[in-house]
Symmetry: none
Subunit: 144 residues, 2 copies
């Protein structure tokens, strides 16, 4: 389970270090360092999947009629952008330019755990998102 929030810097070459706790989860729960990075269709961030979770997603999409407009849009935005990456010896991955642009990631980036997957945000975008999420929850009657 990916949990926790970590801030790491992208270097000049476009590489970012996957936080060690996340690498541990990949190693222990999935026995593979390989991840799939794709656009998140509903937020200006990237979503990172362990191979297994990605396959599960593909299976779900495959179960839907392929002429469905939503499915088509999903394929175009998410699946087309997805690529496999294996981290280098230091645990870093190179984020390609198109994905960097999509999420607007600058130097300071935030990794946010989201259980089966985790997200990569530009630090500023994360802050504003966090503020609005908190505002939304403020007057809610949460039963958990």
């Amino acid at each position: 389970m990916f949990q926790g929030e970590y801030t790491n810097n992208m270097d000049d070459k476009g590489r970012i270090n996957i936080p060690a706790p996340f690498r541990d989860v990949l190693q222990k729960s999935y026995a593979e360092p390989i991840v799939i990075i794709a656009r998140d269709p509903q937020n200006p961030c990237l979503r990172v999947y362990p191979q297994q979770e990605w396959k599960r997603l593909l299976a779900k999409v495959g179960a839907r009629p392929s002429n469905d407009r939503i499915v088509q849009a999903f394929k175009r935005t998410v699946i087309s952008s997805a690529q496999e990456y294996s981290p280098d010896k230091q645990g870093r991955v190179l984020i390609p330019q198109n994905l960097r642009d999509y999420a607007g990631v600058g130097k300071s980036t935030v990794f946010a755990g989201s259980l089966d997957t985790f997200e990569i945000w530009d630090a500023n975008a994360w802050d504003t998102q966090l503020a609005s999420s908190l505002a939304l929850l403020q007057n809610q009657d949460l039963d958990f």
Copy 2:
């Protein structure tokens, strides 16, 4: 059951000592010193869960539709911030910077029992919160 209010100091490295009575509860009722620390979405404080209680919360969240806006906001604020910690030999945990910022904790911090969980407050924030909680109760017709 976590009860009572204790004041402890955070040291320069960002570590705070979990009060001994709380450590006892963790040991006796949960048989595990490990805790999960996360943002409290509705108050400027951190909430500390024994592993079991955290799992219970995750189960509740998982039972809700994941496209629910509230659920999403909850994941971003609470789950993404959550981290597991096992106290060091002296019973201390290191609070990461982002959580320290969120709760605005300075040197003097308050631990407040909250039955299944407990809270960590900045001492000043705790005082003001306490005052307004008391004010709220002032003219209530309490049947307990």
